[in-house]
Amino acid sequence: MHNELKITDMQTLESNKKTTEEFANTNSLKLPDFTTDSYKDAYSRINAIVIEGEQEAHDNYISIATLIPNELEELTKLARMEMKHKKGFTACGRNLGVEADMEFAKKFFSKLHGNFQIALEKGNLTTCLLIQAILIEAFAISAYNVYIRVADPFAKKITEGVVKDEYLHLNYGQEWLKENLSSCKEELMEANKVNLPLIKKMLDEVADDASVLAMDREELMEEFMIAYQDTLLEIGLDNREIARMAMAAIV
């Protein structure tokens, strides 16, 4: 294959010497100062989103159980776990002396919440699972994975415990969709087209606050895409189908 660019135009490590130096200096992540007003201010919104997210997850799993009653026991277990997480994250805010801005968080989730409720009413299980078990869970896992690296010691421990659970949840929706892929693919694609852009918007909306907490927007998005792609691959979609679905995140 012939490249349009000449190889000599290619970057070299030498021409990026500054990067190397920067790397050497910042290789160990610098933690933010958890006591500043600006940190606490940003934390009041991020913490609220997390608490609200866990509450939504709880409610959503209970609702999903009404569509698949024979899974009631399993879904109740998951829902209970989410409440445990909510308590943990509430403690994280308290530990830093921050009051979570719940009003902001409710508004933050309102569109996604609304779409979930509509799907629930119509009995669209696939859409419900996409919103909760794929999008919200992948969003949560990606945020937690990034947060763990820059969290205060108390929150770090709690978040690490939560992440272990969250991988189970992702797995739950995954398994159902995998088994029913042939009958639910079309709905999955449609629901994704509507809801994935919301996730992207939500990420953009918290980017500034997240960066005060030393959470990088680019890294958050990448983590999300990794979790999202992994789940879709697991469900049985191929690379091209996933590419088509992921497209909704950038248009």
Binding site: N3, L5, T8, M10, Q11, L13, T19, S28, E218, I226
Partner: protein, 346 residues
């Protein structure tokens, strides 16, 4: 299973490749989108050795592009995420190709063992440097006589002598080839002195002093774009082996008697039937590949599941002999001068 972790040679090239593979969301994306793109397992392939053994492997594109070198966090994530994917896929031995091994080493990624819920197992990865070093030495031994250079009388300069590959090449040249003189060039003096002591030979010198004396120059450091070299000062017949990454020597040295050879590239005895090397500027992409990639294949052929090349300055003569013998046995050979175009058209 063997794995190869690679990347495109430029952002433009990466986009074109993504489009061909049907990854439209990133093909149409700007560099920011690429910075958030997960690594992709783009191809599975079965390879049959000259001995008849068959192995399976995967090519993982890290979605890193050289333009990301100025974003160190991004570069670090791209490499680690690709390694995580390789491990999650259960690949026994994966080679880090192109910039990925350079990033791994220079940016000290060894301290990042935990990636999400995966603990990276280093024994599943290899830099492939042992095979690369062996191939460069063979290229030197085979091609110098072809252009009339007598190794017994030759002065060889190694630029980047203290690096992982450079020091291995010096070790081999001193102990195995009977060359007349070895000139060692590197940025820092202290590691050069340590190497000289270990080898009990070789002369420490500067680039400008080394070049006019050398019959053969082995480049294992990527050449800064800013370095200007007066080709009139070079020896009349000179073999240049471009073992660095990216390979950009042929633009610097164009002259009748200057022979530039792409270093560290091997040719397989058969067509492999993969698409991935199309993307790595190989002249014969069905057979040619970076020696570091071939190392992962050789280790898989040999069922030698270990991080064969790892860390700095651990490449012994015994390891080079082992990988060299296995390389030949399974059907690889170092590419030579007659296969090279005088000037690369890319």
């Amino acid at each position: 299973m063997f794995g190869l972790i690679g990347h495109s040679t430029s952002f433009e090239d990466a986009k074109r490749k993504a489009s061909l593979l049907g990854f439209d969301h990133i093909a149409d994306g700007d560099l920011d989108v690429w910075c958030t793109a997960p690594p992709q397992l783009v191809e599975n392939v079965e390879v049959k050795s000259a001995t008849g053994i068959s192995i399976e492997g995967s090519y993982i594109d890290s979605c890193f592009v050289p333009e990301m070198l100025s974003r160190f966090k991004t570069a670090r994530r791209k490499v680690l995420n690709a390694m995580e994917l390789a491990q999650k896929k259960g690949i026994n031995i994966t080679a880090l190709g192109g910039f990925t091994s350079i990033i791994f080493e220079n940016f000290n990624l060894l301290q990042h063992k935990q990636i999400r819920n995966t603990t990276l197992e280093w024994e599943r990865f290899t830099t492939g440097n042992t095979h690369t070093a062996w191939v460069i030495c063979k290229q030197l031994e085979i091609n110098a006589p072809r252009i009339g250079i007598d190794l017994k009388k030759a002065t060889v300069a190694v630029i980047g002598a203290t690096g992982d590959i450079g020091s291995a090449v010096c070790r081999w040249l001193i102990n195995k080839t009977g060359i007349s003189e070895l000139l060692m060039v590197a940025r820092q003096r202290e590691p050069l002195e340590i190497l000289q002591k270990e080898l009990d030979g070789g002369t420490i010198t500067s680039l400008n002093e080394a070049l006019p004396q050398a019959d053969i120059v082995v480049w294992v450091a990527s050449m800064p774009k800013t370095v200007e070299i007066d080709t009139n000062n070079l020896k009349k017949t000179c073999l240049m082996i471009d073992g660095g990454y990216p390979k950009n020597l042929d633009e610097k040295f164009q002259g009748k008697n200057i022979h530039v050879l792409k270093g560290g590239i091997v040719k397989f005895f058969n067509d492999i039937g993969w698409n991935m090397m199309e993307l790595a500027e190989m002249q014969n992409p069905q057979r040619e590949m970076f020696a570091c990639f071939a190392e992962a294949m050789i280790l898989e052929f040999e069922k030698c599941h270990t991080n064969f090349s790892w860390g700095r300055n651990n490449i012994s003569l015994e390891k080079m002999e082992f990988i060299g013998a296995a390389s030949l046995k399974h059907g690889f050979s170092a590419i030579g001068l007659d296969k090279q175009p005088k000037v690369l058209t890319v």
